[in-house]
Amino acid sequence: MIKYSNIYKSFKKNSVLENINITIPSSEITALVGKNGSGKTTLMRLTASLLSPDKGKIDYKGSIGILLGGSINLYGNLSVEENIDFFARLHKLSKYEFENNLSEINKFIQIDDFMNKKFNQISRGMQQKTALVISIIHNPDILLLDEPSTGLDLMATKDVFNFVKMLKDKEKTILISTHNISEIADLSDNIAILKNKTISKIEKREIFFENCEKQEQLNKICNYLEK
């Protein structure tokens, strides 16, 4: 569970988030939806303590893993394995835990093929997979995914979907910031719409898309954001 109480955040007098009072349910996948520049990434960064709120507080229990959006960049001159190993060591994982977690992840996200390649020599999709592996290598209780399927091909997107579902089965709390209708409609349990600098409510996916045909789901979200 992540509880946001009265969160305000602004950058140089430009208010981005105001009065956010919501609770992200435990062991479920919540999709955070909003227009570009609505403050989704800021909310993710606040949750991961990369930013501090101007006002309010965020409560959660357990460890956090975060996959940041935008262009994925790790250490280009290190191999994929060295990158993952570095962050695993920082999370104080033993060699056994590291190998165990990695083999578990590898069942869903195929990274074995490019483990020995340098990070700056692999494709955008492979880089995205590596960043995802780094965000979950320490087996966090809460996972924040900022546009996780950006740059991935269809097969890789499917792998990521299956992996996120598997994490949910392991009772992880997952918050996904996304523009992808499949991630919203097929993957998530809840939908939180960030609009006018705040999240008014979180709705169950079934309730949000009630009486809504598959091809109308995107329109429904767009209409909601336009209102």
Binding site: L50, L51, L68, Y75, L90
Partner: protein, 354 residues
């Protein structure tokens, strides 16, 4: 905490070593020192200068040197106003036997070179005739005073500047990448998201810079001594003083350049500020050599200036242990202050702003 620092150090060292630029930092001293040595030897110590006539004026009297002046290719000119004659280039040098100093015309490079050459020959003459062993050369030179005013040799004139350039600039490129570069790429956010303390991240990065600085300083020292080929090479004590002053100056430049990188918005900004700040020791060293003022031991309590003073003195075989220890401790104390201030103001929000 130490284990986490060591993880960051290993990662940073891997990144630095895999960057081809680092080999330039290591190889440059091995190329530059021999080039400077050969070049200055050619210009300052050619046979043509030794064989030239020396037109000098002598002030005072010391019978010990009579033979020296009679047997050499030296013309002694009697002048009413030796300084005026020197200014007009009527004579090459004034030798004051009472004060044991040689005065030269700084606007006349030949006067400068002749002063150097004659100074060295006078020292050799003193040593040979007094039957003094070579290992107390420095003390005799200081007593006689010749080396203090005329030495434009490789060690005293050009090398301190080259040494200070190497020491203070060898790590700035890597420092730029460590915070400002990671900020640009976004990896710093991932690092911060792994709940590391600010001090762990800062110390991990700064220690990796110090390791590179240490290697670079050792290579510079060895290259210098080998390239001197025994002519002006340093004894073990002066090597130690030079090492203490150089490494402590290197530590300061590592801490300063990393702090600048930490608070810069991008690599470009960090590079601009660092190149300006790191040029300060080099500028100071030029002033120190041009205005060769004598200062007491108190000068070793002023960070940066103390290193410049000690590097200059050590390269002239004039270093001393007290100065070495004071310099090292003072500079390390400054490093601790810089790291304390940087960590204190290293707020994630400020650091992650681009």
């Amino acid at each position: 905490m130490l284990k986490t620092i060591s993880i960051i150090i290993i990662k940073e060292l891997k990144l630095i070593v895999r960057n081809r630029g680092v080999w330039i930092v290591f190889l440059l001293p091995t190329i530059i020192f021999p080039i400077i040595n050969i070049g200055t030897s050619y210009f300052c110590n050619t046979n043509s200068i030794i064989q030239q006539k020396y037109n000098i004026s002598i002030i005072g009297e010391n019978k010990f040197y009579n033979d020296f002046f009679e047997n050499q290719n030296i013309i002694i000119t009697k002048c009413k106003d030796p300084l005026k004659s020197l200014t007009n280039n009527d004579i090459d040098l004034i030798i004051n036997l009472d004060k044991s100093v040689i005065t030269y015309n700084s606007k006349n490079i030949l006067s400068l070179i002749k002063a150097n050459t004659l100074g060295e020959r006078l020292q050799q003459y003193s040593i040979q005739n007094l039957n003094i062993q070579k290992n107390i050369l420095c003390r005799i030179e200081n007593e006689k005073g010749f080396i203090e005013t005329v030495d434009i040799s490789l060690n005293k004139f050009l090398m301190p500047i080259v040494f200070i350039v190497f020491v203070s600039n060898s790590c700035s490129n890597y420092a730029d990448d460590m915070f400002a570069g990671e900020k640009e790429k976004g990896t710093l956010e991932i690092l911060f998201s792994s709940k590391l303390s600010k001090s762990t991240i800062f110390l991990g990065k700064v220690f990796s810079l110090i390791i590179i600085e240490l290697l670079s300083t050792i290579i510079s020292l060895i290259s210098f001594n080998i390239s001197a080929m025994g002519k002006q090479s340093l004894d073990i004590n002066d090597m130690l003083y030079l090492f203490l002053s150089a490494i402590s100056l290197g530590c300061i430049s590592s801490f300063v350049s990393l702090s600048i990188s930490l608070f810069s918005r991008n690599v470009r900004e960090s590079q601009i500020i660092n190149s300006f700040v790191l040029s300060i020791p080099v500028t100071l060293s030029v002033f120190k050599i041009l205005y060769n003022s004598k200062a007491g031991n108190w000068i070793y309590t002023i960070p940066i200036i103390n290193s410049i003073e000690l590097i200059t003195n050590s390269l002239s075989n004039n270093g001393n242990m007290v100065a070495g220890i004071i310099t090292f401790l003072t500079n390390i104390a400054l490093c601790i202050v810089i790291s304390f201030v940087s960590i204190r103001y290293m707020k994630k929000e400020v650091v992650l702003q681009t």
